[in-house]
């Protein structure tokens, strides 16, 4: 088999390519996972549909009541985007903390979602914000699915063979948010555990509503209901050390049979502390 490389110029062209897509065909966006995988797993026979320069997937749009982020928008573009910083601050923080400059300059939000790595940093944010994912198929039909439903397991999504993520839709809200992660080193680190908190504050800085998703403590991010319950109605200035019991219990319930749970119970206290600090920032 000859390797092939298709760079679709328009939607029709893309649909044709998706129609002919087989098990050796890969959709290429930033390449920071895929091209590394080819080298690591010695995959030399492959066909590429390169969407990295596809202009339809490259923009961040203000739709008035929502924000539409093209699937091939890079982490660098997200962390520097004023609209995202204002409306979805946790997403800007998550993108800021992905890999290195070189990786952020290429890695895309659509790729992060489609790869569905357990440690994917933007995924808990998309879950917390109840993001809708726009998906295109080879028949030029569009469907929408919640990010929470799209990701089904480690590296698993509901995406069909002839489908591609075109954009991510997030509704604007009065909520503020923060993101934090813990890895084995300070920078360029892969999350051992990460989290996104999205909160609604009243004028006295009391938390009136909260949604927390934690990543890498299960096959996909989990809703940290115990911690949410504990934080609800408290001041944003709360110390995570006062939440110790519920944090530890949350981790116990998420990964009861993992030896890493002992480490993650302690790490999660710092994680929640950093997440709250990111909201206060």
């Amino acid at each position: 088999m000859m390797n092939s490389f298709i760079e679709p110029k328009n939607i029709e062209h893309l649909c044709d390519a998706l129609n002919e897509k087989d098990e050796n065909t890969y959709i290429l966006a930033g390449g920071t996972d895929l091209i590394i995988k080819f080298a690591k797993e010695n995959i030399s026979n492959f066909k590429i549909i390169d969407i990295s320069s596809f202009s339809n997937f490259r923009s961040i749009e203000d739709l008035g009541d929502a924000i539409k982020i093209g699937s091939c928008v890079t982490m660098t573009e997200i962390e520097n985007n004023k609209l995202i910083k204002k409306e979805i601050p946790a997403l800007a923080t998550a993108a800021y903390n992905v890999g290195s400059t070189q990786i952020r300059n290429r890695a895309t939000i659509g790729g992060n979602l489609a790869n569905a790595a357990q440690c994917g940093d933007t995924i808990p944010v998309l879950f917390a914000y109840d993001a809708d994912i726009e998906i295109l198929n080879s028949l030029n039909q569009v469907r929408y699915e919640k990010a929470r439903d799209l990701v089904t397991g480690i590296g698993k999504t509901t995406l069909k063979k002839d489908e591609v993520i075109t954009s991510i839709l997030i509704k604007k809200s009065k909520y503020s948010s923060g993101f934090s992660k813990v890895g084995s080193r300070k920078s360029v680190t892969i999350s051992k555990i990460n989290c996104c908190g999205k909160i609604l504050l009243d004028e006295d800085n009391v938390i009136r509503d909260i949604e927390i998703y934690m990543g890498a403590v299960g096959v996909k991010p989990i809703k940290a209901e115990l911690i949410e319950k504990e934080i609800l109605g408290k001041s944003l200035e709360i110390s995570s050390y006062n939440l110790e019991e519920s944090i530890k219990e949350q981790i116990e319930r998420a990964i009861p049979n993992r030896s890493s749970k002992h480490y993650k119970k302690i790490a999660a206290i710092g994680l929640i502390k950093d997440m709250l600090a990111d909201i206060r920032r």
């Binding site: 490389f5 290429l28 091209i35 590394i36 590429i48 290195s100 400059t101 070189q102 990786i103 300059n105």
Partner: protein, 157 residues
Amino acid sequence: MFINVIVNGEKINIDINPTKRLVDFLRDDLNLTGVKEGCSEGECGACTVILDRKAVASCSVLVGQVNGKEIITIEGLEKDGELDALQRAFIEIGAIQCGFCTPGMILSCKALLMNNPFPTEDEIKRAIEGNLCRCTGYTKIVEAVQSAIEWGHGNDE
């Protein structure tokens, strides 16, 4: 597939396998061996090149993806026999030991200065987060970038 690309200011039109990695194309086809391959997984930064004014790891880019774009490698920094201020600073300050990380390191710094001519120390450190150096301990590298800024790195790019 015919690829049009500007490499170090020179227009190149070449019939090439677009599924080749950029690092292999630069080293094997264009003989630009200043591009080093270290980890092959986008972690070490030795293969860093500047693609449309941004630092990227050339081991994680395919040649087909650079069609119509502009690339700068370490070979492209010297102008008319004169080294770039960053290169001079790395030599004078002693920011080079074994030298393997140096091309990627300098290009990460160059990309930073192209977009942010007067970075803070933290911004310099962040720009080279993805460039591993096992010899220098990074202190001299940060110093060299600061010196290059003091000397005027020529933000003519």
